[in-house]
Amino acid sequence: MERQKALLIVGSPKGLKSTSHVLGSTLLEKLKSGGMVAEEIIVGAALHSEESLEKMQGALEEADLVVFSFPLFVDQVPAPLIKTLELIAHRRAARRPEQQQRIMAIVQCGFPENIHNQPACGTMRQFAREAGFVWAGILAMGMGGFIGGRPLEKAGGVVRNVVKALDLAAAALLRGEAIPDEAAEIMGKPLMPRWLYMVAANWGFRRQLKKRGTRKQADARPYEA
C-alpha cells in the first residue's frame, strides 16, 4: 500500500525561523513517525517565481493531507498566504485531483487571547469548502510570542498543552479522522495568566527599545499632519 503524503505550507515571513514552522514541523514529525511521507514549503519562497509556484502546486496535487501553519496578521491570514490560497483555488477550479484531499491549519497570534484567531479559522474553513478539500480542523492558540521560534522542547513545561494538542491531532489525522475537539480546546488554553504575559511582553518591548536607543522615540508620529 502506498504511503500517505503530508505537505506542510508555512505562511510566516520568518520561514524556517518562525513559530509557525516550529508548530507545523513538530506535527509533521509526528505524522512521519506514524508512517506518512512529508514535505514542507515556505510561502514566501513559493511565491518567488513561476517555477517555485508550480513546484508548490505540484506538491499540493500529490498530497493526501495539507497542513497550513501561519501567524495571525491584523486579525487574519497573512497576505502572502491569502495570495497562495487564491492561486490554489483558481487552479482547482479548472483541474482538481481525483483523490480526496484533506486540509488542516495551525494558527497562532501574539495576543494572549485565542479569540483573535476566530476570523482566520473561519477563512481557512471557507477556503477548504470553496476549493473542494475535506476540512480536518484547526488548532489555534494565543501567546505565540512566548514560543518565539524556539523548538518546543526548549520552551519548557509551559507548552505542554501545545505538545499534547499536536499529539492528539497527529493521532487522529493518522487514523484518517478530523482533529478532535479536545485537541483544539487544549491548544487554545492560555500558556500562562494573561497579566503575566502582558507584563512580560511590555517589559520585553521596553528593554528592546532601550537596547536600540529608541525608547524616547517609541511613540513618535512621523506621519502626523
Binding site: 510566516s12 515571513p13 520568518k14 514566501g44 501567524p71 496578521f73 491584523v74 486579525d75 487574519q76 491570514v77 497573512p78 497576505a79 502572502p80 491569502i82 495570495k83 490560497l85 487564491e86 483555488a89 495576543f111 494572549p112 487571547e113 479569540i115 483573535h116 476566530q118 476570523p119 473561519g122 477563512t123 481557512m124 471557507q126 477556503f127 469548502r129 470553496e130 494573561r194 502582558m198 511582553a201 511590555n202 518591548f205 528592546q208 527599545l209 536600540r212 529608541t214 522615540q217 517609541a218 511613540d219 513618535a220 508620529r221 512621523p222 506621519y223 502626523e224 499632519a225
Partner: protein, 192 residues
Amino acid sequence: MNILILNGAPLNGRGAAHIIIRKAIENESAARGLNVTAFDLAGMDIKPCHGCFACWLKHPGVCAIRDDQENVLRAMAASDVVVWTTPVTFGGYSSELKKALDRFIPNLLPFFALVKGEVHHPHRYVRMRKLMVLGTLPVPSPDSEKVFRMLVDRNALNMHSTNTQVALLREDAVETGIQHAVKELFEKAEVL
C-alpha cells in the same frame, strides 16, 4: 474631513464591480464635501510585511520596507473615515487589500493594553476614525458573509473605530444598486 479609499480589487474579472463602487464612493464623498484620497492597491508596489518589528523598535512609526505603502500610511494617519473595498475572499479580504492592511503595524504602538476586556495595541496617532467596508460576492454565501462580518468587527476593535459599517453586494450589482448601497453606508456611518 478626510476620507481614504483602499480599493482591494484584483486585476481580474472579480474587480469589475469595484470600478463602479469606487466612483460611487468618490461621488458620495464629493457631495458631502470630503477630501478624497484613493488607492487602487493592485497596481501598487506594496511588498509583504516581514514581521521584523523594526517599525516598533528600530525606527518607531516607519516601516523598514520603503515602497508605496508609505503613502498609504501617511494618508491613513490623516484620515477621518476609511473605506475598504474588496471581493470577499474565503470570507476575508483579497490579498491585494490585505497586503496593505498587514503593513499598518507602524501606526500602532508595540505595547499591550486592555480594550473592551481584550488585549490590543494602542494607536500611535490620536486621531480617531470611522470604518466602512464594502465586500462583493459572486453569489450570496451566508457562511462567507458571517466570517466577513466577524473579521470587520475584529478589525474595528483593533482600529478603535468610532463607527463601523459593512455592506455586501453582488459582483453583478447594477450601478444604481451600488450607488444606493454606498449612500446608505455613509448615512449609517454618519459621515456628514
